[in-house]
């Protein structure tokens, strides 16, 4: 029972934090709210029997990706009161897009509610790290390889894009 309650509480936290995050003018605040939302999500994952995913959610999303965002924001000095303030939310513009998103959401929800299986409950379940590891490295070994290559390419690409233009030209790359 308490798990059910927790689910709703955490869901509410996630939605509210996300809502706050996407409406902030200041990107740093947005990042902070988003981290909150990710925490709620991580706990949700734990509730849903995915402790490993929960831990990765915290480590990767909150600990690495959002920190990266923070780093870039700080590095570009997108401080509040800077020029970014001008690009804040413009409520009139939001209306059609909100309508669009609302329509989409409604369609999706209708679609899910039409599926009779969704009325069933999610059972209590727990995936131990051991099982997870076996599944990951036995059945999905190829995918792991591919994704790791993807990461390597991303690292190389980021390195290349991030280099100052003058240096890049010096090394013979095109602009």
């Amino acid at each position: 029972m308490s798990a059910t309650l927790m689910f709703y509480i955490l869901g509410a936290i996630a939605v509210i934090a996300t809502l706050l995050a996407i409406t902030r003018r200041n990107p740093v605040h947005a990042v902070i709210y988003l981290v909150n939302s990710f925490f709620a999500l991580a706990l949700l994952f734990y509730l849903l029997g995915a402790p490993l995913v929960a831990a990765w959610e915290v480590i990767i999303y909150a600990g690495a990706i959002m920190v990266l965002f923070l780093f870039i924001i700080m590095m570009l000095e997108l401080a509040p009161g800077g020029e970014t303030d001008r690009y804040g939310p413009n409520w009139v513009k939001w209306v059609p897009i909100l309508l669009l998103a609302g329509a989409l959401g409604a369609c999706t929800l209708l679609l899910t509610s039409l599926d009779p299986t969704t009325a069933d409950g999610v059972p209590r379940w727990y995936a131990s790290p051991r099982d997870f590891g076996y599944a990951l490295f036995k059945e999905y070994a190829l995918a792991v390889e591919i994704v790791s290559f993807q990461l390597l390419f991303a690292a190389v690409g980021a390195f290349y894009v991030g280099k100052p233009e003058s240096k890049r030209k010096g090394r013979g790359g095109e602009a």
Binding site: N26, V28, H29, I32, V35, P51, L52, A55, W56, V58, I59, A62, G63, A64, V67, L68, L70, F71, M74, M75, E77, A79, P80, S128, P129, R130
Partner: protein
């Protein structure tokens, strides 16, 4: 239901005990650092307040508490206020999974000497240590001062970089122990600590841990002689104190982690486990202080090069080699 209540009570009791011990330890670690550093520099260090200066932490506390809590006019108030707490709390929370002794037998019940034995303890530790970045980053950013901002940008880059090597150096440990649980990792080292089985991992972990704790030679985020005090330049009073204590708590945590992952945790001959554990942690803490006395600060580009071009490939290689050896042994 009473059973459950008892469990909760036990957890709370353990938590309280740990809080008390850790905070005291952190306070006295500051003193110890000052004393040891002084002795290494042929000085005495604080010796006025109480016998051998033993009450110095107390007087520091009183000083910090009574100082003005200053809020810069242009600071981002909200973030400025929560950042120090964030950095102290993330450090403290990690203690929940540290097994500091073998299970006790009391009244016919086994009482594990760990607050919660999570089966993903390693990930919990990594997660919290990656969150520890936020206190520093937000504190520096919210101060709206260039020293603080520079300090926190440096800190962000440094911590992200060394987080990778840190995590990767733990992979061999997990591979050898076949578990993410810290208790089981300690259990697996009953015979021989991983320090001897996998010294490269230990070395990488040690270096990344020093970087993670933002101490010399990796203290670029707060480099006193370049950035005044880096990310906590603008802090004063107890908020500064929280950063400060958080740093020392972090030190103890990392010492405990080194102990758990590489020094065999509470295992040791003759003495009870808890004693062994504390001895090892204190030895690590001494080592950190020693490092601070001995080494100069790295330059920023050296730091980045070291992290990305040396530690990270080494850690990856170590994972590979360990995996190969484990496979070979079977």
């Amino acid at each position: 239901m009473p059973e459950q209540l008892l469990t909760y009570a036990l957890i709370l009791a353990k938590l309280g005990l740990i809080f008390f011990v850790i905070l005291t330890l952190a306070a006295y670690l500051v003193l110890a650092e000052r004393k040891i550093l002084a002795r290494m520099q042929l000085r005495y260090g604080p010796n006025r307040v109480g016998p051998f200066g033993m009450l110095q932490p107390l007087s520091d506390l009183i000083k910090l508490l009574t100082k003005e809590d200053f809020l810069p006019a242009t600071a981002d108030k909200w973030l400025f206020l929560i950042a120090p707490g964030l950095s102290a709390v993330t450090a403290l929370l990690t203690f929940a999974v540290v097994p500091f002794g073998p299970p006790l037998e009391i009244f016919g019940q086994t009482l594990p000497l760990v607050v919660i034995d999570l089966n993903i303890g390693v990930l919990y530790f990594l997660g919290l240590s990656s969150l520890a970045v936020y206190g520093m980053a937000l504190g520096g950013w919210a101060s709206n001062s260039k020293y603080a901002l520079l300090g926190s940008i440096r800190g962000l880059a440094q911590l992200i970089s060394y987080e990778l090597a840190l995590g990767l150096s733990l992979v061999p440990v997990v591979m050898m122990a076949r578990s993410f649980s810290l208790t089981e990792i300690v259990m697996a080292q009953a015979q021989i600590p991983y320090l001897l089985l996998n010294p490269p991992a230990f070395l990488i972990f040690l270096i990344s841990v020093v970087a993670e704790s933002k101490r010399i030679p990796f203290d670029l985020p707060e480099a006193e002689n370049e950035l005044v005090a880096g990310f906590h330049t603008e802090y004063s009073g107890m908020r500064f104190g929280l950063f400060f204590v958080g740093e020392y708590i972090n030190l103890i945590i990392l010492g405990a982690m080194i102990t758990v992952f590489f020094l065999g945790g509470w295992h040791g001959p003759y003495l009870p486990g808890v004693v062994w554990f504390s001895l090892k942690v204190l030895a690590i803490c001494f080592f950190f202080i020693w490092v601070r006395a001995s080494l100069p600060r790295l330059r920023y580009d050296q730091l980045m090069h070291f992290g990305w071009k040396l530690l990270l490939p080494l850690a990856l290689l170590n994972v590979l080699v360990t995996g190969a050896v484990l496979l070979w042994i079977g």
